[in-house]
């Protein structure tokens, strides 16, 4: 009889330890998706008595969308300098000698709160021996313009939720769509933010002085619509889709905002159809709504893959 409580205790102990561990879902997403929320200095140049510092998330330029913050200080005392204007022009030199830029904000906007100039750059390629990115910066202090050139390194974006795509539309214009957020999606309703940019074809011949910004100009397209159809392309998921998604439309910040619902973690394809102001399809095709288990999911001709 004495042994019975012992037996009961043993049974309880056996049960208290579950056979399979529960999934720590939040930790699993954290492990799959590296995120950066902190701006750090990515490069700095000394220009006369001034020091120009460019900060980006995690102090790194990644392929895709990068928010940048440029500060100008007096290198003698470390004080901020009252600069009146600053420009930012990244140019990629290929081995064949061609020079191209990428979507960027040329005239940086001054943000008095943080005492920096704000902008962005959507690098379309990673740095390599064949592709070298040079950054051309100018700023004016007390009516005097200073220009500088520096080589920067663009690294692979390991967070697939910040992927980008470059393509030519049916209007023969070059476009870039870059994901801006969310950095770390959840199985939930997520606010989806993207930038849509187009290359402004130069109308005039390049000037003598290199670089001529008019040859490397990009702008945010305005009034477009990015129709969204998120899918899980994995054969085992049969091109599963989700509901209650909202197409991306432009908001006051110039970026395109929409809603994407991810129903489970894993690989997703954001299928897009891009329409211009007049509703004309510039790129993208409809994805059939049929559930197709066992085969790789059909994609739109315009899409970005993400993973979380």
């Amino acid at each position: 009889m004495q042994k019975i409580p012992l037996f009961l205790a043993a049974v309880c102990l056996v049960m208290a330890s579950c056979t399979k561990e529960k999934t720590d879902y939040e930790a699993a997403i954290d492990a799959a998706v590296p995120v950066n929320y902190e701006f750090k200095e990515a490069l700095s140049i000394n220009s006369g008595v001034y020091k120009v510092s460019v900060a980006a998330l995690n102090g790194t330029f990644y392929k895709g969308y990068n928010e940048i913050r440029l500060t100008i200080t007096d290198s003698r005392n470390g004080q901020n300098v009252d600069a009146t204007a600053a420009t930012f022009l990244p140019i990629m030199a290929n081995t064949d000698g061609s020079m191209v830029s990428c979507p960027h904000r040329y005239d940086l906007t001054y943000t008095p709160d943080g005492n920096y100039f704000a902008g962005y750059s959507v690098f379309t390629a990673e740095s390599s021996a064949a592709t070298i990115w040079n950054l051309y910066i100018s700023f004016s202090v007390a009516g005097k313009v200073q220009t500088e050139r520096v080589t920067l390194f663009v690294q692979e974006q390991t967070n697939k939720n910040l992927n980008m795509v470059a393509f030519t539309g049916k209007d023969d214009e070059q476009y870039v769509i870059a994901l801006v957020g969310p950095q770390r999606p959840k199985v939930a309703e997520n606010a989806l933010i993207a930038g849509i940019y187009t290359f402004n074809k130069p109308t005039n011949a390049p000037s003598e002085n290199f670089p001529d910004p008019s040859q490397f100009s990009y702008s945010e397209v305005s009034g477009y619509t990015l129709q969204l159809d998120p899918r899980m392309p994995e054969p085992s998921m049969g091109n599963h889709s989700s509901i209650n998604n909202k197409d991306l439309t432009q908001q006051d910040d110039g970026l395109y905002h929409g809603v994407v619902n991810y129903t489970m973690t894993g690989n997703w394809t954001l299928n897009f159809i891009m329409l211009n102001q007049n509703g004309r399809v510039l790129k993208g095709t409809e994805v059939p709504t049929t559930f197709t288990p066992g085969v790789e999911g059909v994609k739109s001709e315009l899409y970005i893959n993400i993973l979380f």
């Binding site: 019975i4 959840k186 199985v187 939930a188 054969p235 599963h240 489970m264 894993g266 690989n267 288990p293």
Partner: protein, 672 residues
């Protein structure tokens, strides 16, 4: 709502005011014995009148819990294989009834209802099963269809025979099921112990055409222990535990099997009897149970995709019950409280295993808390008539930890939800000579289940849809009426029962045109929605006739009909069914034969994946012989189910899987 609260106040006040003064008569016979020890013993026996009743049917003594339940008129089953049948009470699915073990709430851990709680007990640790239809079953918590309470064995104190026990072994030839069941009890003056252990192992069964039904095997181990100690002449404490383990259980109707499920069901209770006053018995129990359930789809070659679907369900609870008796008035008051956490996960593996798996919660950590007070009052107005009035008032709380999942389909749904669940019922019984009549009515609410409220892409292989819950579902509200009429004579009796349910906000899955399925075999997404109303009625007629002194006949016919608000058919409604049996006893020999079947299910619901199920008839026979072997009472039984090897499936067989063909069974039981 206000009127309801007033109604409740009146009800509970009525209990204190309307107690008649005639207390003296009852129990006087016992009071004459001054031996209080014996008094306790007798009261215990009276209180648990079912102590020695065995869980067996007339046809077969080595039944499973499912088979035993199936012998009841208002229970039918959804079957997904040979194991773990889902009981339907009054043709309503299991979330509409309150399923308890000795009043303890236990919730299965499988989103696909592969583990109704009846699968976590065994026939040799139960003494009986209490089935109550409709609102009268609200004693253990809010319900619509009624309650099924599985009563554990509990041996009384101080029996003359201190040790008792039984061992039963059996073999069933169709699926090579080998079963061994043993139980032992000790009854001392101060201490009582009940223990049981059982093993069942079965292979695949063969359907009527002798074709093997793959993935229908199972293995089950169950053990239980109960210890009671008498703390004073009129009080005792008791601890109970059941441990159940099922492994390698095939579900032929599903695209996956069960790898392992385990349950531990524990409780500690204190019981006190009172010799004087209105309060006669007070019984309080705290309980804890944990269920884990792991599916396995790797044994199905048709599954190109592998998915893990583990589930966990943990419940803590309290049941406190008081019995009040004063003359012709009797009342039961019960407090029920529990806290349950249900978790279920899906992890899908990509075909290229090096790629990242895909994960979602099918139950996103859903907490359910319930607290409710139930009571039932009964007055014996005269020798001929009795009035029962009762009610319950409960509070139900849900919380979804990962409410983001629910927001995908229901943006902005609250993470927490409180519901008030009232219930009322009244019935009147009248007996005039050989005739008896009863009339009853009821009203009650139930909260949506975890799956109905918070389920997320739960694959239902019957209609092949993924089901999504809706946290904003309204309470299901049932209005019910029931009646019965019967006549009993010396050698014969006949009784007809009918009940009718009008259920508002009837919860059922409806196709969502916008969703896209997630599971490999799925064809679409259904969301749980409330129909404006549904109507169900059930009719049964029972009769018996003692043809000779040792030859008895029994027969039952049932008919049910259920429609939604557009007069469409509801799914899983039993067509007209019949059962008739003959029982002959000659000295130590018993012979039984039965014939049962369903008519064709013509009122089926294609919307829910049903098709026309043809009629079938099954014949069973068995013979048993009782003899004494040394000091053991021994019963040997041989029989055959589905004697003519009919190939059939019923309206509630998931995916029309065929039922078992001819099954010859043998069983031998020793008891002392």
């Amino acid at each position: 709502m206000k009127t309801l609260i007033i109604a409740f106040c009146i009800l509970f006040m009525g209990m204190t005011v309307a107690v008649p003064e005639a207390q003296a008569q009852h129990g006087d016979t016992e009071h004459h014995h001054k031996d209080t020890t014996r008094y306790l013993k007798e009261v215990t026996v009276i209180d648990e009148t079912i102590v020695n009743k065995k869980i067996e049917t007339e046809m077969k003594m080595a039944v499973s819990v499912d088979e035993f339940l199936a012998s009841s008129d208002n229970i039918s089953f959804i079957k997904r294989g040979a194991y773990a049948w889902e009981p339907l009470l009054n043709n309503m699915s299991s979330e509409r009834s309150s399923l308890t073990i000795d009043g303890m709430h236990v919730f299965g851990a499988c989103t696909d209802k592969m583990d109704p709680i009846t699968s976590y007990v065994e026939s040799n640790n139960l003494s009986s099963i209490d089935i109550t239809s409709g609102q009268e079953g609200s004693m253990h918590g809010a319900t619509v269809a009624g309650s099924i309470d599985l009563k554990r064995k509990s041996t009384p104190f101080g029996l003359e025979k201190k040790w008792g026990g039984a061992y039963q072994t059996g073999f069933e030839f169709n699926n090579n099921q080998f079963l061994n069941l043993g139980n032992l009890s000790y009854s001392g003056d101060k201490l009582v112990a009940d223990g049981s252990i059982s093993f069942r192992k079965a292979g695949n069964y063969q359907a009527g055409n002798n074709a093997e039904v793959n993935h229908s095997q199972y293995n089950k181990f169950n053990t239980s222990l109960g210890l009671a100690y008498k703390t004073s002449l009129l009080s005792s404490v008791r601890v109970d535990a059941i441990y159940d383990r099922a492994s390698d259980v095939g579900f032929p109707a599903l695209p996956m099997d069960l790898w392992l499920s385990r349950a531990i069901i524990t409780s500690a209770s204190y019981k006190r009897l009172f010799e004087e006053g209105m309060l006669r018995v007070w019984d309080t129990k705290v309980y804890y149970n944990a269920v884990e359930h792991y599916m396995d789809d790797t044994k199905r070659p048709e599954n190109k995709v592998h998915m893990d679907m583990p589930g966990w369900s943990t419940t803590y609870g309290l049941v406190s019950r008081a019995s009040i008796l004063r003359g012709a008035y009797r009342a039961e008051i019960q407090l029920n409280a529990y806290d349950n956490l249900s978790i279920a996960e899906m992890t899908m593996y990509p075909q290229d295993r090096s790629k990242k798996t895909m994960f979602a919660y099918s139950w996103p950590w859903v907490t359910t808390r319930f607290a409710g007070l139930s009571m039932n009052n009964s007055w014996s107005i005269s020798e001929m008539s009795t009035l029962n009035v009762g009610g319950s008032l409960g509070w139900n709380y849900n919380h979804s930890k990962y409410v983001d999942f629910n927001w995908i389909f229901h943006p902005g749904a609250p993470q927490e939800k409180n519901r008030i669940l009232p219930g009322l019922h009244a019935s009147y019984q009248l007996t005039i000579d050989q005739f008896n009549f009863s009339l009853g009515t009821g009203y009650g609410h139930r909260a949506p289940s975890v799956s109905e409220g918070y389920g997320y892409y739960i694959y239902n292989s019957f209609d092949r849809y993924d089901y999504v819950g809706n946290p904003n579902l309204k309470n299901e509200v049932s209005y019910e009426a029931n009646a019965s009429a019967g006549v009993k004579k010396e050698k014969m009796g006949i009784e007809a029962r009918v009940n009718y349910f009008y259920i508002e906000n009837y919860i059922i899955g409806r196709i969502l045109s916008l969703g896209s399925p997630m599971n490999y075999q799925s064809v679409g997404v259904k969301g749980y929605t409330s129909l404006d109303h549904a109507r169900l009625y059930n009719l049964s007629v029972n009769a018996y006739y003692d043809i000779l002194h040792h030859l008895h006949w029994k027969g039952t016919v049932t008919y049910s009909r259920a429609t939604d608000n557009r007069d469409g058919n509801l799914p899983f409604i039993r067509p007209m069914s019949y059962r008739t049996s003959l029982h002959y006893m000659y000295q130590r020999l018993g012979l039984q034969a039965s014939l049962s079947g369903d008519m064709a299910q013509k009122k089926y619901s294609p919307e829910y994946g049903e098709d026309l199920t043809p009629a079938y008839t099954v014949v069973n026979v068995s013979a048993d012989y009782r003899f004494d072997f040394k000091n053991f009472r021994t019963v040997l039984q041989v029989g055959a189910e589905n004697l003519f090897n009919e190939y059939y499936s019923t309206y509630a067989d998931w995916g029309n899987i065929p039922r078992m063909g001819r099954n010859v069974f043998t069983s031998l039981r020793f008891s002392f």
